[in-house]
Each structure stands twice: as C-alpha cells, then as structure tokens.
C-alpha cells in the first residue's frame, strides 16, 4: 500500500497554490491534513501526479467572526479551510458560535486524525457519511472557492453532488467556510449518529439546530441527515414546517416521518436501505428532541 509516484509542492501563499492548480489542472490535488486523501493514495485509488500542500497557509488558518454586510440576518463565523479539526474543538470563538460543529466533531474519527484532519479537507472529500459536510449543509454555510481568477461562493447545499463528488473544479481551492451564526441566545443543537464502532463512518447521522422564543415556540429550525443519501442532505422544508410550532413530541415525530421520506438511501455491507431510512427517522427524532432540550 504505497502511493503511486507524485511530485510535491508546498505553497507559501494561496495564490501560489491556485497558480499550481491552474498549471496542473486535474493532475493535481491539494493536500492539507491528508486524512482522507492519503489512504486513498495508499490504495492507489487516488493517484494525483502533483500534490500541492496548503496545510501551512496562514490565510487558511483563521477563525473569525465576520458580520456579513450584505445579509442583515445572521452573523457569520468564517473558518479557514485548513483549520484543523482539533483546533475547532478548542477555539473559544468556534465553541461559542458553532456549537453544532463542536458536537459533530466528537463523532469525527479519533484524536490522531482530528489532530491532523482539517475542516476543509473533510468537506472537499465529500464522504456522504462525513459529519462536517452535513453541518455545513444544515447551517446553510457558504463555501468560498478560490482559483487563479478569484473567488466564487457556493452554498454548501449546492456543493455536494454524489459520494466524493462536489462542485469544485480541478483548479479551485476551498478557502474558507462561512457559517451563519443565529442571533439570539435561545439556540440549541444536537448531533447524533449510528455507527458500528465509535469513530467509524456513520451508517446514518442527523443533526439539528433550533431557536426558540421566550415562550418556547420554535422560531427557526434547521436539520439534516448524513449517510442516507449520496450526499449530506439538509432538510430546509422540514425546518420551515417546524418554525412556528411548539416543537412538541407529536410535531417532532411527524417531522421525523417526513424527513425519512425525503432521503435516498443505498444499501451496503453494514446497512440496508430500509435500515438507513429507519435510522434516519429515529435520529431526526432524537436530534430534534435533544436540540429542544439543549435550549432549555
């Protein structure tokens, strides 16, 4: 299990990385943490001729609160694509503003892989079961892609196309992820998944974030399901239905039933499509309850 030969270039700026991508196109791959890419290269399923290392780029390491002047609604926390997962777990701003991301990270791999793996790496790898991509979809994050010509914003919900297939072009680099941060203190979130062993790929995962008003009425809800469709699936239509409700058990059960009808699961060695659909229903119910309790 040794990778096929390749050439290596460590970029010192993002522009330099983009220039390299422009030069080598589909023959090149970016590497940051490499926790998904390196095993695939070891199995020779991935065999880029060039690896462009962006792990140390300062530009991609920032976690910043950035209020978007265009949108009046939410604050924004921007996370550089090469921020390591373990950093998110400890960063005060990320912990305070992106609790759902923090909850998701508890399910991501193990200590050693979180020490190395990056937020952006998990997103562009686009495993349908991966936790971070699901959070970006559920929170309706915006992904900023850069290439030699400039920046392009793509909503996370339009980014994931199929297992490990995304809307990113070969010459583009994911630069940052802008997560909306809901205003108001009464926000709760939850992330749950079923995997066979802890740290394995989720058979199914689900997460939710809800905001309640002073009377406990749901004013906003976002949720989604991972591992049960070819890509992480946000369920905005269910979120909209929940807004305005008391988020009582009956409503939650109905929402879970509805959610389970919107997914497109496949069967594999560890889970049939029917089992995945069932788990999706169970987990949506659980995360909505937990998110509700999290507020209270």
């Amino acid at each position: 299990m040794k990778a096929a030969p390749f050439e290596y270039f460590r970029a010192s700026t993002l522009a330099e990385a983009c220039a390299q991508l422009a030069e080598h196109g589909a023959d090149a791959k970016l590497i940051a943490g490499g926790q998904s890419l390196v095993p695939m290269m070891a199995m020779r399923l991935a065999r880029p001729a060039w690896l462009i290392d962006i792990r140390r780029l300062e530009e991609l390491q920032r976690i910043e609160s950035r209020n978007d002047p265009v949108s009046s609604a939410d604050d924004v926390v921007s996370v550089g694509a090469a921020v390591r997962q373990c950093v998110i777990e400890r960063d005060p701003l990320a912990r305070a503003s992106l609790p759902l991301l923090g909850r998701a990270l508890k399910w991501v791999g193990h200590v050693q892989t979180r020490n190395r793996g990056t937020v952006g790496g998990s997103i562009v790898h686009a495993d349908p079961s991966a936790e971070i991509p699901l959070v970006t979809c559920v929170l309706d994050a915006v992904l900023e892609l850069r290439d030699a010509a400039g920046a392009t914003d793509v909503p996370a919900r339009e980014f994931f196309l199929a297992p490990m297939v995304t809307a990113i072009a070969p010459e583009q680099c994911l630069a940052e992820i802008r997560f909306p941060v809901w205003k108001g203190a009464r926000v709760g979130s939850a992330f749950e998944e079923v995997s066979i062993r802890q740290g394995d790929f989720a058979l199914v995962s689900a997460c939710a974030q809800v905001a309640l008003d002073a009377d406990g009425k749901c004013i906003r809800a976002a949720l989604g399901i991972g591992g049960a469709s070819p890509f992480p699936q946000a369920l905005p239509e269910i979120g909209e239905r929940l807004a305005g409700t008391q988020l009582d058990d009956r409503t939650i059960v109905d929402a879970a039933d509805a959610a389970a009808k919107l997914i497109d699961p496949d069967g594999d060695l560890h889970a049939t499509a029917a089992y995945r659909r069932h788990l999706a229903r169970v987990l949506v119910e659980r995360v909505l309850r937990s998110a509700r309790e999290d507020v209270r």
Partner: protein, 151 residues
Amino acid sequence: MALEVQGEQTLQLGRAELWRMLIDPAVLAKTIPGCNAVRRIEEDRYEMGLKIQVANVSGEYMGSVAITDKREPEHYVLTVEGQGSIGFMKGSAAFDLEPKGEGETLLRYAGSAELGGVVAGVGQRVLSGVAKFLVGRFFKALEKCIEEAKA
C-alpha cells in the same frame, strides 16, 4: 460487488433518431463516462479505453463495449467490460425506447454492474451512489449530444 441501476429518462428526440444515436460509436465514446477511445472490432462491438475519474478516485480500464439484442428502434442491450490495475468491471443494461410526445422519447434502463478488485474490496460503501452518479453523467452527456445533433 454487484450494483443495480434502473430508471427512466425522457429525451427530447424522436425514437428513430434517438435509436440511431444510441448505437452510434461516436456517441458511445462521448456518453460512456470516462470513455476516451473507441475502436471498432466488428459490427456493434468496439474496443475501448476507459478512464473513470470520480473525484479523487481514478481508474483506467481497457475493455470493450458491445450492443446486442437489438430490436430497432425499441430495445437493445449495452454491455461494457474492462480490466485495469485496480480490478475489473463488467456491466450491462437493457434499454427500452418508448415514443412519448412529439419529438420525445422515454428511455427506460435497467442494468447491473459487477466490480472486482481493490475498488470492490474497499469501496463498497459508496459504490452504489457513485453508480447513480455515473448514470446521471451518461444522460447529461447524451442530452448534450442530442442538442449538438439538433444544432
């Protein structure tokens, strides 16, 4: 590792024209995902090179494509076989063409593919999603061919 795909797609082309397109090797070369060369061996049988590239995963196969069970203009079977360093793949799909509206044809397909080698051994979790994606790519390419033909 066996994969099943089936579905249907409405295409903006009359049945007879679509039929001609579907068995045209030039169109096959453009629509079969990853196909980079087609060389005729005999009637309805071609040698081909395939370079499958799905995101990070890439694999090269040498193989063949064959069209059999032809009942013009309503039915045929497309079989693709290939072998490469990461294993083999063999798939076949039956296509049924039904006239729909004016200049419109409903194409139904039902097929299965078999994979062997490393891809099958380590990729089982995502293969079926990838297969669906490749079917999607096939139809996108086909639609593009149709547009080009009309243009």
